[in-house]
Amino acid sequence: MEREALQARISAINAAVTFEEGGEMLNAFVEPAECRDLLQTLHNMDDLAFDYMFCLTCVDWKTHLTMVYHLESTKHRHIVVIKSKLDRENPEIDTMSDIWRTAELLEREVYELFGVRFINHPDLRKLLLSDEWEGWPLRKDYEDPINMIKL
């Protein structure tokens, strides 16, 4: 599906979705409460068939966090980027791990580095850091006076 057609199709699913101009891929913003429904639809519809999540990450913008989902269809070979702004003080979003199994580990990584809580995640533990680790190391305001030399 071409970019314009994809944009129109996503707007038809959820009219509240906004789109970002420019960029290599189609960027769509959705509210965190509606994010899971949208992604479930993108995965299930035959003409969309986004069966492959090739990246799940998070960005700290200091004012808010943004969840970023990169999706691709191995059937139609189209790509879309879904973004969702989260409250920095209380970041919560539904898990996608039951839609794409790969999200299970990726969400654990985002949890340990950014502190985003994934609702209904089957096993939300830290992935690489030790269990007693305090703080979210990839947040911009993270402080570690022992290991970190501030520029």
Partner: protein, 186 residues
């Protein structure tokens, strides 16, 4: 290597031939012979933590071929290795592993810090929670190599410098004179 080899580009055998009627006697110091033998058969440990390891593999491959200088017997176990090339970033989680590998190597053992990360933390010096700011915080380093990553030529130069250091009995001041000054003036 011929005992009477006077080629200035090759390290001579550390000793002299004392001529006798029946052919001659080699006069030398045992320490020098041991160091000479050691330096020409350094077995590196297979150890690489990031992109420097790719350059290290290139140095071992056909184009650069570090076996010309006696490094070809790369060992997958520290118990059989003489030299560990720290090829890549050392993170806090890796630090105890590196220490343990070094402790498992038999004496005498040598360490090369390859590239910016192993030397100082390099690009991860500022604002990182996870990177050790230089492998010499964990184990002693004999030779540092600059670069990010260093080219295979730079690693070869580090290995040859390490050989010169071993031949000089581990004394870096003598090594600097013999290896760099003498060769430049000859």
């Amino acid at each position: 290597m011929d005992v009477n080899n006077k080629n200035p580009n090759q390290e001579p055998f550390p000793g002299d031939v004392h001529p006798t009627a029946s052919g001659g006697i080699v006069v030398t110091k045992l320490d020098d012979v041991i160091n000479w033998a050691r330096s020409n058969s350094l077995w590196p440990l297979v150890f690489g933590t990031s992109c420097c390891a790719i350059e290290m593999m290139s140095a071992a491959s056909a184009k650069y071929d570090w076996s010309r200088f006696g490094f070809e017997v790369a060992r997958a176990t520290p118990r059989q290795a003489d030299v560990i090339i720290i090829a890549g970033t050392i993170v806090n989680k890796m630090a105890p592993v590196l220490k343990r590998l070094y402790d498992q190597m038999p004496d005498p053992k040598y360490v090369i810090a390859m590239g910016a990360c192993a030397t100082s933390g390099g690009p991860f010096f500022y604002n990182t929670y996870s990177v050790v700011k230089g492998a010499d915080h964990i184990i002693p380093v004999d030779v540092y190599v600059a670069g990010c990553p260093p080219r295979p030529e730079a690693l070869m130069h580090a290995l040859i410098s390490l050989q010169a250091k071993i031949k000089a009995g581990g004394r870096p001041e003598k090594m600097v004179i013999e290896h760099f000054y003498d060769k430049a003036t000859k």
